[in-house]
Amino acid sequence: MLQKVFSVKNNGFIVSNAVALIIIGGTKYLFQRFYDVPGVLVFSEFVIIPMLMGIVSIWYWRNIVTTKRQLTLWALANTFIACVLSAVFLKEGIICLIIVSPLLFAFILIGQVVGKAMFNRNNQTLNTSVFVMLFGIFIYDSLSVHHYENMVADTITVNAPPAEVWKYVVAYKRIEKKSDYWLFRIGMSSPVQSTAEGYYLGAKRKCIFSNGYVFDEKIVTYDENKDLTFDITNQPRDPEIMGHIDILRGQFLLKDNGNGTTTLTGNSWYRLYVFPVWYYDIWAESVTRNVHLRVMEHIKELAEAK
């Protein structure tokens, strides 16, 4: 029975995932223990570790995997197992795992190809050097400072004057319309309502999402019919967001076009805690843009209905 479970094939999956979990879990624990912060998910965790998983797995499979087809299928299977384990042990959200899975798959496959080349040559000096280099990059990357902030801006034209638009910028009633954005359709929460305790500087505002989570906000600029800027004072403890992204500030700018229409601009500032930026910022920008458009389209609809 045990021999069946720990077959050469299964060992490739089991050991590679165990190594990854130990390294990621260990890093998380050490950051929590010594720095009292959850830590940043550095690029190594999505690049070096999946590569390492690929190399470790191919070490077990070096005599049984002979074709690219098999290699690719097993890389897919290993990606799936890694995602399930991340959901169970690291409490990652499903949407996050959907976002991360292409990156995991690619680097697991690259690791397998690298590993295959390494073990075919059977050069111990080369193999040791590769492991030492990967380990060195991981340590250096983990201890480096990672800070990335970005701002996303979107603009639409509303066929109503600024005073009419302003009424719905500060607070708006529930959005009933279904979103067309694929991530919202498969379960990512989207903004549905905004409430404010008043129309004045310093007023507290709440942005309510479809899963019931609430972003607490405070109005920091209140320039009627022109500029509403608010800081996010408290983020929901959603596993899809926590430790991945902080929304820092939001802003609506209204520009009177002088012909009864208004140019409405939505700006959001955020900080990313997941790297590499070249991958995750594409997603962050896309999600932020679709949050903007969902709210701004709703405001447009309400303002133009009057």
Binding site: T67, K68, T72, L73, F105, L109, I110, V113, A117
Partner: protein, 141 residues
């Protein structure tokens, strides 16, 4: 799609690792749409590696690279696109013999050629091309 990405996003290949990621997705796409192509690539690799002094490596922009000594014979991307550097005379010869062999998808005015491997017949053409490149490099010394 591949041509579109190469044309408009080709500059991103200089981001470390990105081309390798892209090629991994090409392999996944091939697995879903034409899995036999992966077997053809395996067969090509096996055959070329049976020739003396040949090795396989990962191409810097993704894909399987086959070499003679330290010289590249050619590389095959995950979608079966074979790129090979020949001299102008050999390039004109092979392009004159087979209309499916084209100028390289990026470096048109050079000795590079591109050829899409899709089926068994294409595999044979690709093998002939590798053989030609191999003989050329062997004769050059």
């Amino acid at each position: 799609m591949f041509k579109f990405i190469i044309r408009y996003f080709g500059f991103l290949k200089f981001v470390p690792g990105l081309a390798l990621v892209f090629d991994a997705f090409l392999v996944l796409w091939t697995l879903m749409t034409n899995p036999a192509l992966l077997d053809h690539m395996d067969a090509l690799e096996k055959k070329v590696l049976s020739w003396p002094n040949t090795t396989s490596t990962i191409h810097k922009y993704g894909g399987l690279q086959l070499n003679y000594g330290k010289k590249e014979l050619g590389h095959i991307h995950g979608n079966g696109l074979l790129d090979m550097l020949l001299n102008r005379k050999l390039k004109a010869y092979v392009m004159g013999n087979d209309s499916k062999i084209k100028d390289h998808h990026s470096f048109k005015d050079s000795g590079w050629i591109s050829f899409y491997i899709k089926d068994e017949c294409d595999k044979q053409v690709a093998l002939n091309l590798f053989n030609l490149a191999y003989q050329w490099h062997v004769n050059k010394g």
